[in-house]
C-alpha cells in the first residue's frame, strides 16, 4: 500500500496521471477547480491530426478515472496551500459549495429546466446562456448540478426556490458552506493546464471591438455539434452563414507586442483542423484563408494533415504577417491588413476572422507556484530541467501538460503518464498513513449463487426517476404488464431506484423471491450499469445477470409530448431486456498470473531512462541493446536542445543503469523470438552476428520498445561527396572533437533534407532546433562567421522560439525556399557554391561557402518491420511504430503489454524522449504492479466445433487477441487481450465466434421480443 498522491487539475493530463497512479495501486486525490472533470479537451470539437471526436474519446477516459476505486475526485475544489517536503506533503484544499448534496443529486436536470435565471455559459465561452443552476456540460462528470450563488435568486435575494421544489431527492441545499480539508500526500502532480489568450492581447486585432473577430476557442464551440450554433458557422452580428473566413495564426504568440514571445505550439495545427472541419461542415464556404508566419506541423502525422489541408479546395495558406484587423462599418466585414512574403502590403475582406490565440499559464497557478517556491520560467510556466522534464524545482512536486509549457494533447498525456510514474516511486516508498480514504478494499470473494440449472426467475424494477420517467411513462401500467411477461416472477415500481436504500432493496428482493435475473428499467447503462450491477451482486447474484432498459434518456426525456407512445416504447424496451435476461449468462473476470520482469528493447537514452524508471519503481528489467555499448544516437550529440553538454548526461545515465542491481543489460544482443502475451512474454535473445555469447530465453511481463531511429543516408546536395558538406551530426562531432577548421568565413545550412517531401512526408522535428543551436554555437565561437540557414518553415516550437530569436539577434541569416525551387550546390576548385532564390528580393543568388551543413531527415530503423511482426504491433507508413491511439494512448500499443518510447515512435528531441520513456515505463508498471491480471468479463469466445479456421477473426481483431490453436487448428481467444468489441463475432461466417454479454442469441431474443406483436398470425397450414 502506498501513500496517496495529489493531482491538481482535472483536464486530460490530470485525468491520465490520476488514472495511471490508481492503476499502479497508488491512492489519488484528484482536485479540479471547475464543477466537472474534462478540462479544455472537453471544450474541443475535433482533435488533430485524426479529426477524432473529442468527446467520444475523452468521455470513457473520464469515467474510467472517476470510477476508479483508488481515485478520490474533488471537483469545484481549490488548492489553498501545500506544506512539507517530498514524501510528506500536507495540502490544504477548499471544497466550494455547490449548494447541492452531491450524493442525492441524480443529475436529472429537472431543476435546470425550471430555473428562471440566465447567465453566460463559461463552458461555451460565454457565447450562450446557461441557468443559475446548471450542469457544467452535458456529459460532465460527476453528473450533478451546481448552483451559481452569484446569480441564484434564492441565495441572493431569498426568493424563487423553484429548484428546491422541483427536486424530489432533496438534493438542494441553499445553506451549504465551503469545506476546508487538509490532505496528506507523498507527492503532488501539477496538471493545472492553461488559460487561452483573451484575444485582446494584440490590440491591433480589435477583438471585442469588432464582433466578427472571435477567438479560436470560441470558434471551437461554434464547430461543435453540441455548441451554441450546433455546428453552423454563423456571424454573430447578423446570424448570416459565414462564407469567407480568415484564420490568423500566432495571434499573440511569437509577438513582441504581447509579452508572449514563445510559440504556443498548437495553434498552427488547430487552425488547420478548424479549417478542415469548417470545409467539411459546409459546401457554401467560398474561402478559408490561413495567415501564418511558419506552419509548425512538427508532430507525428501533422505534416500529412497539413498537406491534406493544402490540397483541399477552398483552403488557402498565406504566408503573411497580419498587422491589423479593421471593421467595415457598413456590413461588419473584417479587413485583414498584412505584409505578404514578398514584402508587399495586402488587404482582404472576410465575414469572420478567427484569432489563433495561444496558450498562457493560469495566473493564479503561477502565483501559487511562486508562493510554494516552485521555480517558474519568465513566461510564468513551471520551469523544468530539460533532462528531467517532469520535475519542478521543488522535490516531490511534478508537472505535466501545459502547466510546464504549451503542448498538444498526446504530449500532455505522455507527460502525465511519466509524472505518474515518478510520483509512484515516492508514494510506494512511503507507508500509507491510517486511514486512507481511497484504500482499496480487498475485492471480496463474493460467492455468487450458482443459477445455471435453475428455471429462469426474472425480477423487473421500473424506476420513476421522480417525474423524469414517471411524468411521461405510465409506470404503474408498465410494471403491471411486465409482471405477465414470460419468466417474470416479480415486478416493482420504485421512485428512485438509484438511492442507496433502494439499491439494497434489489438485493433483498433477489433473496426473498429467489430471483436469478434482474431487469432494471431506468436511465442509461452508460452511467448506471456499474451501480446496478453492484446492487445485484449484493443479492448474491452474478452482476452480469442484470440487464438495463433505458427508458429515461432515450424515452421519457425525448418523447415528452407523446406519453402513450412513450409508455408503449418503455414496455417494448422492457420486453427486450426480459428476453435478453432470459438468455444472459453469469460471467466473470478471471485472473491470470503474470510475471514481474520488464523488457526494454533498445539501449539509447529512451531505453535507458525507461529501464531505470521501471527499476526505480521496483521491478527487475532486462535491457537489450544490439550495439556493443549503451547510448544510441546520443553518443553523437554534442549539445542538447537547450545547449547543455550531452556527453555528461549520457555518461551519468549509463552509470546509473550499470549500477542499478535490478537492471540486467544485454549488449550485443537482439530479441529474435517473441512468444506469449501481456504478463507472460518469453523473449529469445541471440547474440548479434560476430558477437560472442549464448542464446538466452527470458520470461517477463511487459515489453518497452525503444529501438530509436537513424539519420537519412543521401547524396543530395553533394552529401558524402564533398568533405565540405556535413550533416548536423557530423558538425556536432567536429565541435565535440574540436575538429572544425579555424578560418571559416561563410557557412550555409540547408533544412528539410529528405524530410517533408516524397517519400518521407513528415517533419523531422528536431532539425530546426538543431540548426538554430549549432548556428548560435558557431556564432558564439566566432561572431564574424557568416551563417545562412536555408529553410522551408522554421519550426522552433514552444520555448525554442527564444533560440530562434537569439540566433537572429546574433546575425544568423534565415532565407526561405520552396520545395519546388530547392537550392543547388556545386563544388569546384574554388570551393562550394550555393545557388538559391531570395524570396523577398525576388532574385537568384549564388554564393560561395566554406561549409554546408545539412539537416538530414530522421528515418525509422529498417529492421523495425521484423520486430513489428514479432510483437504483432503495427508500423505507420513512414516506418515508425504506430501507437494504439495517436491522441490518448501515445505510448501504448493496441496489443496489451507492449509500450513505445523515443525515436522509434517518431522524431523527437532528448527531453521529449525522456518524458516518453518515463511514460512508457509508467504504463508498463501499471501491468507489473498488479498481483494478477484481470480479464474483461464481456469477451469473445469461440465454439471450436463450429470454427472452420478461416482466420478472418484473426485478421480483424484489433488487439491481437485471437490466434490459431496449435493443438486444434481452430481459433481461440486470449481473454486477457480481448476488449470485447465483437469484430470477430460479426466477421465469423459459421458463428463460431460470439461475444459474452452481447451474444447473437441475446440480440435475437431482444429483437424478437420487440417485434413479437408483428409476428404473422398462425399460418393456415395443412392439418388445420
Amino acid at each position: 500500500m502506498a501513500k496517496p498522491v495529489m493531482v491538481i487539475g482535472g483536464g486530460i493530463a490530470g485525468i491520465q496521471a490520476a488514472f495511471d497512479l490508481g492503476e499502479m495501486g497508488v491512492p489519488v486525490y484528484l482536485v479540479e477547480t471547475s464543477p466537472s472533470l474534462g478540462g479544455r479537451m472537453a471544450q474541443l470539437d475535433k482533435t488533430f491530426p485524426t479529426n477524432d471526436c473529442s468527446t467520444c474519446i475523452l468521455a470513457p477516459k473520464i469515467s474510467d478515472c472517476y470510477n476508479h476505486e483508488m481515485v478520490t475526485t474533488y471537483t469545484y475544489t481549490d488548492v489553498l496551500d501545500i506544506e512539507g517536503q517530498e514524501g510528506d506533503f500536507r495540502v490544504k484544499v477548499r471544497k466550494n459549495p455547490r449548494y447541492i448534496n452531491e450524493d442525492a443529486c441524480t443529475g436529472c436536470g429537472e431543476c435546470v429546466e425550471k430555473c428562471p435565471v440566465k447567465v453566460p455559459d463559461a463552458y461555451n465561452e460565454g457565447l450562450i446562456k446557461r441557468k443559475a443552476i446548471y450542469k457544467y456540460y452535458d456529459q460532465g462528470v460527476p453528473n450533478v448540478v451546481t448552483i451559481d450563488p452569484e446569480h441564484c435568486l434564492k441565495i441572493q435575494k431569498g426568493r424563487c426556490g423553484l429548484c428546491e421544489k422541483m427536486c424530489d431527492t432533496g438534493a438542494i441545499n441553499y445553506e451549504q458552506e465551503s469545506e476546508e480539508m487538509e490532505l496528506e500526500v507523498a507527492a503532488v502532480i501539477y496538471a493545472a493546464g492553461y488559460e487561452a489568450f483573451q484575444g485582446n492581447e494584440v490590440s491591433e486585432y480589435g477583438y471585442l471591438r469588432h464582433p466578427n473577430v472571435i477567438t479560436s476557442l470560441e470558434y471551437e464551440r461554434y464547430l461543435s455539434a453540441s455548441g451554441p450554433t450546433e455546428g453552423h458557422i454563423q456571424r454573430l452580428t447578423d446570424g448570416e452563414e459565414a462564407r469567407k473566413i480568415a484564420f490568423i495564426h500566432c495571434a499573440g504568440s511569437r509577438d513582441t507586442r504581447n509579452d508572449c514571445n514563445y510559440c504556443s505550439a498548437v495553434c498552427c495545427m488547430y487552425s488547420i483542423k478548424q479549417a478542415l472541419v469548417t470545409r467539411e461542415h459546409s459546401d457554401e464556404i467560398e474561402a478559408i484563408d490561413l495567415y501564418y508566419m511558419d506552419i509548425r506541423a512538427y508532430g507525428k502525422g501533422f505534416e500529412s494533415y497539413y498537406n491534406t489541408a493544402e490540397a483541399t479546395e477552398g483552403i488557402n495558406f498565406r504566408r503573411n504577417r497580419v498587422a491589423r484587423l479593421e471593421e467595415d462599418q457598413e456590413n461588419g466585414e473584417i479587413i485583414v491588413k498584412g505584409l505578404d512574403d514578398q514584402g508587399r502590403f495586402s488587404e482582404e475582406k472576410y465575414d469572420l476572422v478567427v484569432l489563433g490565440v495561444g496558450l498562457q499559464p493560469n495566473k493564479e497557478v503561477t502565483e501559487m507556484m511562486k508562493r510554494l517556491r516552485i521555480r517558474v520560467n519568465k513566461y510564468g510556466f513551471a520551469a523544468t530541467d530539460e533532462l528531467d522534464p517532469l520535475a519542478t524545482s521543488c522535490k516531490g512536486i511534478f508537472t505535466c501538460g501545459v502547466a510546464a509549457g504549451p503542448k498538444d494533447i498526446p504530449e500532455s498525456v505522455i507527460e502525465a503518464s511519466g509524472a505518474a510514474a515518478q510520483a509512484a516511486i515516492i508514494a510506494r516508498s512511503q507507508p500509507a498513513p491510517e486511514p486512507v480514504k481511497a484504500a482499496k478494499e480487498e475485492e471480496k470473494e463474493v460467492p455468487y449463487r450458482f443459477v445455471d440449472y435453475e428455471r429462469v426467475r426474472i425480477g423487473v424494477f421500473v424506476c420513476h426517476c421522480g417525474n423524469n420517467i414517471g411524468g411521461v411513462v405510465d409506470v404503474p401500467r408498465v410494471t403491471e404488464q411486465a409482471e405477465h411477461l414470460p419468466y417474470v416472477e416479480h415486478s416493482e415500481e420504485i421512485k428512485y431506484l438509484c438511492s442507496p436504500d433502494n439499491l439494497e432493496l434489489i438485493g433483498d428482493r433477489i433473496k426473498e423471491k429467489n430471483l436469478n435475473r434482474v431487469v432494471v428499467a431506468s436511465c442509461t447503462p452508460r452511467t448506471h450499469e456499474a451501480l446496478f450491477r453492484q446492487a445485484v451482486s449484493w443479492g448474491g447474484l452474478n452482476p452480469y445477470l442484470m440487464v438495463m432498459s433505458n427508458i429515461r434518456d432515450q424515452n421519457s426525456w425525448v418523447h415528452r409530448e407523446e406519453k402513450e407512445k412513450a409508455t408503449e416504447k418503455a414496455l417494448d424496451l422492457i420486453k427486450a431486456s426480459v428476453a435478453k435476461a432470459r438468455k444472459s449468462q453469469a460471467l466473470e473476470r478471471s485472473r491470470v498470473d503474470k510475471l514481474d520482469k520488464g523488457f526494454v528493447i533498445g539501449g539509447g537514452v529512451a531505453g535507458m531512462t525507461a529501464a531505470l524508471q521501471l527499476a526505480e519503481i521496483g521491478f527487475p528489467v532486462v535491457l537489450i541493446e544490439k550495439d556493443k555499448e549503451l547510448g544510441g544516437n546520443a553518443r553523437d550529440l554534442f549539445y542538447t536542445t537547450e545547449g547543455r553538454p550531452a556527453r555528461r548526461l549520457l555518461k551519468e545515465l549509463q552509470e546509473k543503469v550499470e549500477n542499478k542491481d535490478l537492471i540486467e543489460t544485454y549488449c550485443g544482443y537482439r530479441a529474435t523470438k517473441v512468444e506469449g502475451y501481456v504478463g507472460n512474454f518469453t523473449l529469445t535473445l541471440s547474440p548479434e552476428t560476430g558477437e560472442s555469447g549464448q542464446e538466452k530465453e527470458i520470461e517477463g511481463g511487459v515489453i518497452v520498445v525503444a529501438t530509436g531511429a537513424g539519420e537519412l543516408e543521401t547524396d543530395e546536395y553533394l552529401a558524402g561527396q564533398s568533405s565540405r558538406v556535413l550533416s548536423q551530426v557530423d558538425l556536432e562531432k567536429k565541435m565535440r572533437d574540436n575538429d572544425l577548421e579555424k578560418d571559416l568565413k561563410k557557412v550555409f545550412m540547408i533544412q528539410c533534407v529528405g524530410s517533408r517531401e516524397e517519400p518521407r512526408e513528415y517533419c523531422s522535428r528536431i532539425c530546426c532546433n538543431q540548426a538554430v543551436n549549432s548556428a548560435i554555437h558557431l556564432k558564439e565561437r566566432d561572431p564574424e562567421l557568416d551563417i545562412t540557414i536555408l529553410y522551408r518553415d522554421i519550426r522552433t516550437y514552444g520555448f525554442y522560439e527564444d533560440n530562434y530569436r537569439k540566433a537572429r539577434q546574433l546575425g544568423v541569416k534565415f532565407v526561405r525556399f520552396d520545395v519546388e525551387e530547392k537550392p543547388r550546390v556545386e563544388e569546384s576548385k574554388e570551393g562550394l557554391s550555393i545557388s538559391y532564390r531570395d524570396q523577398v528580393a525576388g532574385i537568384e543568388k549564388t554564393e560561395q561557402a566554406d561549409l554546408l551543413i545539412l539537416s538530414k531527415a530522421v528515418v525509422a530503423q529498417e529492421e523495425s518491420d521484423v520486430l513489428s511482426k514479432q510483437l504483432k504491433v503495427p508500423l505507420n507508413e513512414d516506418g515508425f511504430f504506430l501507437e494504439a491511439h495517436v491522441k490518448l494512448m501515445p505510448v501504448d500499443f493496441a496489443t496489451d503489454g507492449v509500450y513505445l518510447c523515443g525515436l522509434a515512435h517518431g522524431p523527437k528531441n532528448l527531453s521529449e524522449s525522456i518524458s516518453q520513456a518515463r511514460a512508457a515505463a509508467g504504463r508498463a508498471a501499471v501491468v507489473l504492479t498488479r498481483e494478477y491480471l484481470l480479464t474483461e468479463a464481456m469477451v469473445a469466445y469461440i465454439d471450436s466445433d463450429l470454427c472452420m479456421s478461416c482466420q478472418n477473426c484473426v485478421e480483424v481483431c484489433p488487439y491481437q487477441a485471437i490466434s490459431m490453436s496449435e493443438w486444434t487448428g481452430k481459433a481461440e481467444v486470449n481473454r486477457v487481450l480481448c476488449k470485447g468489441c465483437g469484430s470477430c463475432t460479426a466477421v465469423c461466417r459459421p458463428h463460431a465466434a460470439d461475444l459474452h454479454g452481447f451474444s447473437n442469441q441475446e440480440i435475437i431474443e431482444e429483437m424478437e421480443a420487440i417485434f413479437a406483436d408483428r409476428q404473422p398470425a398462425p399460418l393456415k397450414g395443412e392439418g388445420k
Binding site: C947, M948, N952
Partner: protein
C-alpha cells in the same frame, strides 16, 4: 481454333496416371461419364488404372474444388477449370487448404460450359494457379460484363420476382452444397441456438435464408453459377450474389479468387471506403 476435348481428356488421363503412379497424389478428382445416365459426374480416382475413365468436356459443369476440403492431410490432384482454380485461391487465402497438399491440373483457355449462363460473364479463361497445365493459355483477355437482367425492374417488381423465385425453394440446400464458398462445418440454417432463420419452408424464411446466404457469399463468391445449376427448382438465386459480386468490383475493386495473398472483402478495409447510400 476448335477446342479438342478428347485431346484434353487424354492429357488429363496421362497426367493423372503419372501422378498416381509416382505417388505424388493419393487421389485425383475429375469427371467421368455415368454408366446409365450418360451424363458427366465427378469421380475420385485412386488407382492409376482407372485414370483412363477421366474425361473433360463442356458438360463438366460441377465445381470440384469443394471436394478438396475433405482431404486435408493427404495429397489430392484435381482437374481444374479456371473457376475451380479461383475457388482454390479463395480457399488458400483463408488457409482452408494447404497448397502443398494439392496438385492442380489446370485447363487453359476455357471455352465455358454448355448449360452454365455464368460462363458468359466470366473473364478468367486460364487457371489462376496450376501445377500442370493443359492446352495453351489464352492470350487475349476476354471482355465480359456481369449481367444484370433485373436492372430495369422497379423495386416492387424485383421484390415480387424474388418472392416468386424463393417461394419455390424446398430448402434442399443443393445450392449450399454445390457452392464452394459454403464451407462452414455447420450452416446457420441448422443452428437453433440462436435460430437465425425458421425451419419452415415458407416464403418468409425462404427469403430470409436466401438473403443471408447471399450475404455470406459476398466477397467470396466468384459467380461460377454452381448454385443455380444445382437447384432442382431452377431458382435464380444467383441474381443476388452476382449483384454483390458486381458491387464489390465497382465499389472496392475487389474480385475474389485472383490472389491467394488477398484478404477477404470483409476482413480488410480502406480508410476512404465508400459510404454510398449512408445517411449524412
Amino acid at each position: 481454333m476448335e477446342t479438342n476435348y478428347s485431346e484434353i481428356s487424354k492429357k488429363i488421363q496421362e497426367i493423372s496416371r503419372k501422378l498416381l503412379e509416382e505417388g505424388r497424389v493419393d487421389r485425383v478428382i475429375g469427371f467421368e461419364r455415368g454408366e446409365f445416365t450418360g451424363e458427366m459426374t465427378p469421380v475420385l480416382v485412386t488407382d492409376p488404372e482407372e485414370a483412363e475413365n477421366l474425361l473433360f468436356n463442356p458438360e463438366c459443369e460441377m465445381m470440384l474444388a469443394k471436394y478438396l476440403l475433405d482431404y486435408g492431410g493427404s495429397t489430392t490432384g484435381i482437374v481444374a477449370k479456371p473457376c475451380d482454380t479461383r475457388a482454390i485461391t479463395v480457399y488458400l487465402a483463408e488457409e482452408l487448404i494447404k497448397r502443398d497438399e494439392i496438385v492442380i491440373i489446370g485447363i487453359n483457355d476455357c471455352q465455358g460450359l454448355e448449360e452454365n449462363e455464368a460462363c458468359d460473364e466470366c473473364g478468367v479463361r486460364n487457371p489462376v494457379v496450376a501445377d500442370e497445365e493443359i492446352g495453351q493459355p489464352r492470350q487475349e483477355p476476354v471482355e465480359t460484363d456481369i449481367k444484370d437482367d433485373l436492372k430495369d425492374m422497379s423495386l416492387g417488381e424485383r421484390f415480387a420476382y424474388f418472392q416468386e423465385e424463393f417461394s419455390r425453394c424446398i430448402r434442399c440446400y443443393a445450392c449450399r452444397e454445390a457452392c464452394f464458398v459454403c464451407s462452414c462445418e455447420e450452416c446457420f440454417v441448422d443452428s437453433n441456438q440462436p435460430q437465425w432463420v425458421g425451419f419452415s419452408v415458407g416464403l418468409r424464411d425462404n427469403f430470409t435464408f436466401h438473403l443471408m446466404r447471399a450475404m455470406h457469399m459476398a466477397g467470396r463468391c466468384i459467380n461460377c453459377g454452381a448454385c443455380e445449376l444445382a437447384c432442382p427448382e431452377a431458382i435464380n438465386m444467383r441474381a443476388l450474389t452476382r449483384n454483390l459480386y458486381r458491387v464489390a468490383q465497382e465499389v472496392y475493386e475487389f474480385e475474389p479468387g485472383l490472389d491467394p495473398e488477398e484478404k477477404t472483402l470483409f476482413a480488410t478495409y480502406r480508410l476512404n471506403d465508400s459510404e454510398q447510400g449512408f445517411l449524412d
